[in-house]
């Protein structure tokens, strides 16, 4: 690939006004990292999601929230109270030069402020307004209060996760709003493609529940086609329609993920893998089997149990790094069950320059963030700047762009409008 430093980002001529809290922040970030000028519009005093931990050095503070920093990277920031008529007037002026507006308020909130899609499109017919809510703008659940635990449950995802003898369990990380936010960016760019051909903007109405339903794969179709709940939660095992196999295995210092005979690549690697077992006096009866032509569903369960027992013993003698390095060498499918530390130490991610160091002068440090998820022959992921401080770009936007005087700006600040 050519020198990335010289390459332009793909979306650097567009402006986004980002009104979202934590439930929609990834949408604007996904556009900002492709070069869009994303301006976070916070209420005076800062967005409430700045209070969500964990915090830099575990000390709470509006410029120290790690989720906030992570999902607002590369954005600029202004403050504005859109619940006041002065604030609404200023917001409408900003709409004239904006291409996109992203919001995650309760359905109806912007309409009540006369800032809904119909009002915004009168000012700027090309504007694309993207709304990210738990269940969408209309419908019987549209007003429901739904943090991640609720949308995960309502999507059907939660039911299938965890151990069979305990309640269903969620990821210990809010995932459903990331799904909704990122799919929102997709819908936004589809609307943009249409706008560039037709001049027409539109309203993009995103449901977080539906976004998460997408991640289920089988469950709705099992019911529709077979009237069956084909999957149940089985901890580290995978079970569908009564067929069970082990996927997560303990090893010497943690866990690895491996599935016996996983499709052709798994079978191809078996001879070498069995040789590794044999070298330690394990898996003697696995020698000489024609793995490539074995039908896993026709192998007697007691054979599988015996093989899994031998493999499990082998894994317990080795660390996950050893097992993974061996799998890379043997082109076997095994993966380490990684912690965040393992991911950060990955040689693969280092080889692709995945991590980016972003300066935080106020914290007197640089912070390492996940970076480019693609390489291109022509364009580059945009390594910009840290998330904005509260109201950091008020002067740039209100004075330089909207032409307010210093006195007007400070009066608006005194009135708690900015």
């Amino acid at each position: 690939m050519a020198d990335e430093e010289q390459m332009p980002p793909m979306l650097d001529r567009y402006r986004v006004l980002d009104l979202t809290g934590n439930r929609g922040a990834l949408c604007g970030k996904a556009l900002a990292e492709l070069g869009a000028d994303v301006i976070k519009v916070e209420k005076p005093g800062g967005d409430p999601s700045r209070t969500i931990g964990p915090f830099y050095q575990d000390i709470p503070g509006p410029e120290r929230s790690l989720p906030w920093l992570a999902f607002n990277l590369n954005k600029r920031g202004i403050t504005l109270n859109i619940e006041t008529s002065k604030g609404q007037e200023l917001f409408k002026r900003l709409i004239r030069t904006a291409d996109f507006v992203i919001e995650s308020f309760t359905p109806g909130y912007l309409d009540n402020l006369d800032l809904g899609y119909s009002s915004l499109s009168e000012i700027n017919p090309g504007i694309i307004l993207t709304s990210i809510t738990p269940f969408g703008q209309t419908g019987p659940y549209s007003g429901y209060n739904a943090p991640d635990l609720i949308t995960m449950a309502m999507s059907g995802y939660l039911y299938l996760c965890g151990d069979s003898d305990r309640p269903p369990v969620r990821f210990s990380s809010d995932q459903s709003y990331l799904q909704g936010s990122l799919q929102a960016a997709v819908g936004t760019l589809i609307a943009h493609y249409h706008r560039e051909l037709s001049g027409e903007g539109q309203h993009v109405d995103v449901s977080v529940q539906e976004s998460m339903v997408w991640a289920l794969c089988y469950a709705p179709l099992d019911w529709y086609l077979l009237k069956a709940l084909g999957q149940t939660r089985q901890g580290g095992y995978w079970q569908r329609f009564g067929v069970t196999y082990r996927v997560i295995w303990p090893c010497k210092d943690g866990y690895v993920a491996y599935r016996l005979l996983m499709a052709q690549p798994g079978a191809n690697a078996m001879n070498e893998f069995v040789a590794s077992l044999n070298a330690e006096g394990l898996g003697e009866d696995m020698k000489g089997i024609d793995w490539s032509n074995l039908r896993f569903d026709q192998v007697p369960q007691e054979d599988i149990d015996r093989w899994e027992d031998q493999i499990g013993t082998y894994f317990l003698r080795h660390t996950k790094r050893e097992l993974h390095e061996e799998a890379v060498r043997q082109r076997n499918v095994l993966q380490p069950v990684n912690t965040m530390q393992d991911i950060i130490e990955s040689p693969q991610l280092a080889a692709r320059d995945f991590w980016v160091e972003v300066e935080h002068p106020e914290l007197n440090t640089a912070i390492t963030y996940p970076g480019p998820y693609f390489k291109s022959t022509e364009t580059a992921w945009h390594k910009g700047h840290r998330a904005p401080l509260i109201g950091e770009h008020n002067e740039e936007i209100y004075e330089k762009e909207l032409g307010l005087s210093k006195e007007e700006l400070s009066a608006l600040m005194n009135d708690n409008i900015i």
Partner: protein
């Protein structure tokens, strides 16, 4: 309102298979793009041969997941081991805007269909290769699957109970992150091409894209040197925050209380039981300290009701609560998904009705709508060769006869 025309005129040649790539091209097709899916008889798309099947009968045109992920597409079956098969693929690329492929790194080169070759027939082509780890790097040639890769990304370590081994996410979770990043990159590349006239080759890694979904947890390590561990259903900012048993077999509801107003509202709906007035539960801090006892007491209340009752009553009082829905609930019971028409039933000429999901966003002027049901295996081979590529009858028959086309 003009349905499914947002991307009208866009042409996509799709070499991808299984979940991630086909989801991408379904989204494009359901918004009006022309998607030509290149299929192989030697190794059909794995999704064509997985359960659930229509009526429970296996068959290459009977898979429910395939039906879901392949609406709006044309299917052409080509033997890409044959030079003349490769030539047909190149002709399709010559009239396309986008090429998507998800083979192991190097496979397209071996077929003579890598970016350098395709650029010769279409100089401004946008080509995206998605692979597990990217096209280069020490792990790029290790074969693996989303079911295992999700653990490489930390999603198993973050799922489950602190006193137990990690749990396996039910479906390959990273397979449901990569499609959205691929779509964003492709749509941005189209915009870039429209303004500059330049196409590009994009090497996208599922592992890297998925790392963005644990960005705060990664930062917790890079700045605080702390490894985030799984914590069941606990949340540092809420209590109660859990999954509670309800009336019926394996029925559950979720309740999440982030502040004291919500706590008071929950107590009121529960009928203000005496225990709820205890100082053990009067503040978020105390409720967190006594989480286990709190969960047990709430469970003694919820077990008397259906999860829908709990949700409706608590939501009416402003408390976050939901049903732990099953596949049955999503299809038969959920009035919101029905209102949004999330699942669309489509009639496939040979195998009857199938479901396909709609993207979770509704565009007010140009909403998605599947153009047609999923294609039968090779359904459009003749149409594409003759109507789109202008091949004559004799040539077509000869290519079929010699096994270049199936």
């Amino acid at each position: 309102m003009m349905k499914n025309n947002a991307l009208a005129g866009l042409k996509v040649v799709d070499f991808s298979w299984v979940f991630t790539g086909p989801i991408v091209t379904k989204y494009l097709g359901d918004h009006g793009a022309e998607v030509i899916k290149i299929e192989s008889a030697v190794q059909p798309d794995g999704t064509r041969v997985i359960t659930p099947f229509k009526d429970g009968i296996p068959g290459i045109d009977r898979s429910g997941v395939f039906a879901n992920y392949n609406s709006s597409k044309y299917s052409i079956t080509i033997n890409l081991q044959e030079p003349r098969g490769v030539e047909i693929a190149r002709k399709l690329v010559a009239r396309a805007d986008i090429v998507l492929e998800t083979f192991a790194p190097g496979a397209m080169s071996r077929l003579g269909l890598d970016y350098d070759e395709l650029q010769k027939v279409k100089p401004d082509i946008i080509m995206l290769s998605m692979s597990m780890f990217g096209q280069y790097g020490p792990y790029s040639n290790q074969p693996t699957f989303g079911q295992l890769l999700q653990t490489t990304n930390g999603f198993a370590h973050l799922l489950g109970w602190p006193d137990r081994a990690p749990s396996l996410p039910v479906a390959p979770y990273t397979d449901y992150i990569a499609p959205w990043y691929i779509l964003i990159a492709l749509l941005a590349a189209l915009d870039y091409r429209r303004r500059t006239g330049k196409g590009q080759y994009i090497d996208l890694s599922m592992h890297e894209a998925s790392a963005h979904f644990t960005a705060p947890e990664l930062l917790a390590y890079t700045v605080n040197n702390r490894i985030q561990n799984r914590m069941g259903n606990r949340c540092p900012d809420a209590a109660p925050h859990g999954v509670y048993p309800c009336k019926g077999h394996d029925r559950w509801c979720t309740i999440a209380v982030f502040n004291n107003d919500e706590w008071q509202a929950l107590c009121q709906v529960m009928g203000n039981p005496g225990w709820a007035r205890s100082s053990s539960f009067d503040t978020l801090l105390h409720r967190r300290e006594n989480n286990e006892e709190l969960d047990r007491l709430i469970g003694e209340w919820t077990i008397n009701y259906a999860p829908e009752d709990i949700m409706d009553r608590l939501q009416a009082a402003g408390v976050a609560a939901g049903v732990v829905q099953t596949g049955e609930d999503l299809i038969d019971n959920d009035p919101q998904l029905r209102h949004r028409q999330h699942f669309v039933e489509m009639n496939h000429a040979e195998t009857g009705n199938h479901l396909t999901e709609r993207p979770p966003f509704r565009l007010s002027r140009t909403p998605s709508e599947p153009q047609r049901p999923f294609p039968s295996f090779g359904e459009h081979t003749e149409y594409i060769c003759q109507e789109i590529l202008g091949m004559g009858d004799a040539e077509f028959a000869e290519l079929v006869g010699t096994g270049v086309l199936y």
